[in-house]
Each structure stands twice: as structure tokens, then as C-alpha cells.
Amino acid sequence: MTPRPGWWSRNWASLAAIAAMAGVWEILSFIYTAEAAPGEPMVPGWEIVFGRTLLSLADYWGGGLGVASVAEGAPPSYTAAVLAIISNSFDTIVRLYTGLIAGAAAGTALGLAVSWSPWPRRVVDSPLQFLRTLPLLAMVPLFQLWFGTEFIGKVAFVAYGIGVIFFAGVANAVRNVPQIFIDNARTFGASRATLYRTVIFPAILPELRATMLLALGTGWGAVLGAEYLGAQSGLGYMIVYSEQFAYLDRMFFVALLFVLYASVSYALFDRVSRRLLDWTAKSGQVSATL
């Protein structure tokens, strides 16, 4: 085996592409100078985004920790702006991951249940297949009326969106488990519970990786959607609030935060899942042998 090339030689091309994108954006900001509102450029350049825009995010700091809020009459400060970013990001991320864990657990349990015996399949399968076809974002107002606009309402919505994906992913993955592994376990006297724990669950993990990536994307969309309507904090709330005043640069800044958080969550998941799936053939082998 040849030694793995260093981090830099593996990633320089991607980094250069990202830098090029940032450069194009900056050039666009000089060429296209239209404004959404007086003083609010449609394409805010980086000097605006990381200067005036960042400072203006202090508006979203509600006060506390010895840093007074703008609403209380304090001048905007970078400290307040950073605190605003941290606290609103924290709110969104907690909503997302609470919903993600609850939804993934419930969806996986139901997906395994429909393969357990005919009765759960008859009872659970059709209604859930029906729910799958409902467009997720159209359900936001319903969930707000049912569960309120507080924490529970948003978490329930995210959990619903992710639960449906996990249910479909798990039910399908179980159907794809090769019969020979099931037969093999049964001839060793595995009980039904042992069969699920030692064969079905590990066998579906590679497919669940794809389900999880899909669910992460949907989860970020769902939590934002839930925050667009009726939230008093969070990144979605910042976007809606900014839109009302045509603060395009702030919306752009929050979008950048999304990109950052989503990338970090994908990377973390990738690292964890790679360890769990050590037994499968290493991905990337194809390109390595070509």
C-alpha cells in the first residue's frame, strides 16, 4: 500500500475551488451594485459581510452575561454580535438534534417493527407510506397549531420529517438483508431478538448511512422551516427578521453559518460512520486501483 498523501495534497484543489467562489462573489459585488433597499446591496461583498453586517447582528442579542442589548440602548458591539450568533445557533442546533435523535429512534423502531411480523406491517405500513407523500414544509403551520410555537412544536416537526425518512429507509434496508445471513443465524439457534440485534441491525447499517445523510439535509431544512414561522430565536428567526427589513447581507451571513454547521455535521457523521462500518470494503478503493 502506498502511504496516504498528506492532507494538503488531498485537499488543495477543493480549497482552491472554494476560494475561487469567494473571489467571484467579491467581483460580482463590485459589478452588480443594485440595492434591495437604500444602503442594502443585493450582493454584499466580504468587507461588508464581515464588517458592518457582523456588527449589526448585535441586534439579535437579548442581553445578559454583562453585555447589554441594543434594545436596551447599548451601542452595537462585536461581543454582542458574537453572543447573538452563538445563542441563536445553539437554539437551532439543539432543536435540530433533539428532533433528529427522537425521529431517528422512532423511525428505526417502526421500520424494524414492520419487518418483525405481519401485524405491525398491516397496521403501521400503509399509514406511514401515506404520510410520506405529504410535503414536509406544508405541515409547518399544522404542527404549530398542534404543538405550539415553543420548543416542542419545532422538535416535533423535525422529528416527524426525519422519522418518516428513517422509517422508509429502515423498512427498505431490512428487506434487502440477504436471506443467507438470516438462515445462517437461525440454524445456530438465534432467537428473534438475537437475530435482530446480531444480524438485521448490523446488516442494515451501511444503507442507514445514506438515510442519515438524507435525514441530516432534511433536518436542517425542517428546523429552518419551523423557525420561519413564529420563533423568537434561532437562525431561521434571524433570517425572517432580516427579510422584513430587506437586510440582505444579514440573510447572507446566516446562510454562511448554515453552510458551516451543515459541513461540520456531515464531516462528524462521516467520521463516526466510517468507524462503525469498518467491516465494509473501504470506499475510494475503486479510484485507487484505476
Binding site: 440454524t187 445456530f188 439457534g189 438465534a190 446480531t198 446488516a203 447499517l205 467491516w279 470494503a281
Partner: protein
């Protein structure tokens, strides 16, 4: 009749093909296998030998008749009947030693004990050096050794093997015959495991079996005793009695005219 291990009576199995036709995989099979016997089921492909094995294993219910193992009617798979499959059945998500321990852990054997047993059988099949490896890192022949070690480690007294070495190259296949016969022969004559080995390979059957049962179109058409001593060397296979058996088998398979 305490030494009858497997008894099939009037066993039949039919199924409906996708085109609606009724297919009889087995019809009225009567077969008695004594404890400690090494039986090969031989026949052309589609003759029902795999179906018979799956019924003995309890993986497939018979359409009619009875199958009794150890004096009990078979209704489901169980740890008293170990099976080695034609395709790779080793769990890819468990390391080699965990695979060999699998049957024992299903039965709640303590960890220290099952590690000891697994290590012992891995050594017997010559795989101690890869105990901690993932199955994907092993060759096809090594995977078969793992499967054989796993059924022996589990202590089943009936072993069912469904063309286990069919996909292997000649050298690997011959090595695995030795492994299998060594493990089988190590029990005292009275406590040897009973083996039912499905194959379409006449030479394989003659190297391994005490008794060769020939199936054709779902029926038992011949039942031959193979009395030659083991190990069956190249010369032993050329003795007149063995050559005669080979002629009979080849005739059943339609490769030689009856004489």
C-alpha cells in the same frame, strides 16, 4: 432403534413456480441415517438434494411426510443441526473469531468459554493467525474454513453441508476435505457427528462418504455403501470396488450408458 439419527418418511415438497406450474422438488422420500454416518447426497442439479437438506435443517417445511432428527420432529431450525451453506454465510460485520463464537453466544455460553472453544477450532482449521481479521480480508477458501469451524465449535451433532466447496479451486477443495474429515473423525466412533453432505461432484462424494444416496427428480434412486478405508488415497480410489461405484454414479448422472 436408538442409533437412527435422521429419519425421513414419505417426505415430499412441492412449490408453485412463477408461471403457475406445480413443481415437485421431492416426492415420497424415505431415508434413514444412522448416528455418526457420513452421507453424501448426489444427483443432477434440480434433483431435490438441496431441498431435502433444507427440510432436515428446518429452514423449509415439507409439503407432506415427516422428518425426525434425534427422535424429535423438525419444525424449525435449531442448534442441534449445524449448516454450511453453498454461498458465503460468514457475517461480514463480525470479526473472524466472533463469527466462530456466534452459535455459542446465541446459546448464552460465557465469554471466556466461547473464546476458548473458538480459538481451539480456529487453530484446527488453520486460521489462528486471522482470528482478529474482518471476513472481507479473507479468501473464499478461508471463509469456508471459518464456516466449518463455526458449525463444529457450536457442537451440533448433525452437520448439514450444501455443496459447501463447490465454488473453490481444486487444491483448496482437497485441503478442505482433509479439514472436514479430520474434525469429523476426532470423535470416538460412537460419538462422531452425523454428516449429510450435498454435492454434484462424484469424486468428492467418493473421497468423503460412508454412504452415497443418489437422488433424481425428487426421488431416492440408489443407496450405495462406500466401504473403503480412510484416508482415501489416489490409489484407494482406483480399487475395483471404488471404480464400480464410480461407474454406477456416472450412469445415474447420465454420463455413462448402463451396462
Amino acid at each position: 432403534m436408538s442409533d437412527v439419527k435422521i429419519e425421513a418418511s414419505a417426505l415430499s415438497r412441492s412449490y408453485r413456480r412463477a408461471d403457475g406450474a406445480e413443481v415437485k422438488a421431492l416426492s415420497a422420500v424415505d431415508l434413514r441415517i444412522e448416528a455418526g454416518q457420513f452421507v453424501c447426497l448426489v444427483g443432477p442439479s434440480g434433483c431435490g438434494k438441496t431441498t431435502l437438506l433444507q427440510i432436515i435443517a428446518g429452514l423449509v417445511p415439507p409439503s407432506g411426510g415427516n422428518i425426525v432428527v434425534n427422535g424429535q420432529r423438525v419444525t424449525a431450525p435449531g442448534p442441534s443441526r449445524g449448516m454450511v451453506f453453498q454461498k458465503d454465510s460468514v457475517f461480514p460485520w463480525m470479526r473472524v473469531h466472533a463469527n466462530v463464537e456466534y452459535g455459542l453466544s446465541c446459546r448464552g455460553v460465557a465469554k471466556a468459554e466461547r473464546q476458548k472453544v473458538a480459538a481451539q477450532y480456529l487453530e484446527r482449521v488453520g486460521l489462528s493467525h486471522v482470528a482478529g481479521a474482518w471476513p472481507r480480508e479473507l479468501s473464499g477458501g478461508m471463509l469456508k474454513r471459518v464456516a466449518v469451524a463455526t458449525v463444529f465449535a457450536n457442537g451440533a451433532d448433525v452437520l448439514l453441508l450444501d455443496e459447501p466447496f463447490g465454488a473453490l479451486d481444486y487444491v483448496t477443495k482437497r485441503q478442505l476435505h482433509d479439514v472436514l474429515l479430520t474434525l469429523w473423525a476426532e470423535g470416538e466412533a460412537g460419538r462422531r457427528r452425523t454428516v449429510v453432505f450435498v454435492t454434484h461432484d462424484v469424486d468428492e462424494a467418493m473421497i468423503l462418504a460412508d454412504r452415497i444416496v443418489v437422488l433424481r427428480a425428487g426421488r431416492v434412486v440408489d443407496d450405495l455403501a462406500v466401504a473403503a478405508d480412510r484416508p482415501r488415497t489416489t490409489d484407494a480410489l482406483l480399487l475395483p470396488g471404488m471404480v464400480r461405484i464410480k461407474h454406477i454414479l456416472l450412469t445415474h448422472l447420465g454420463l455413462e450408458a448402463a451396462r
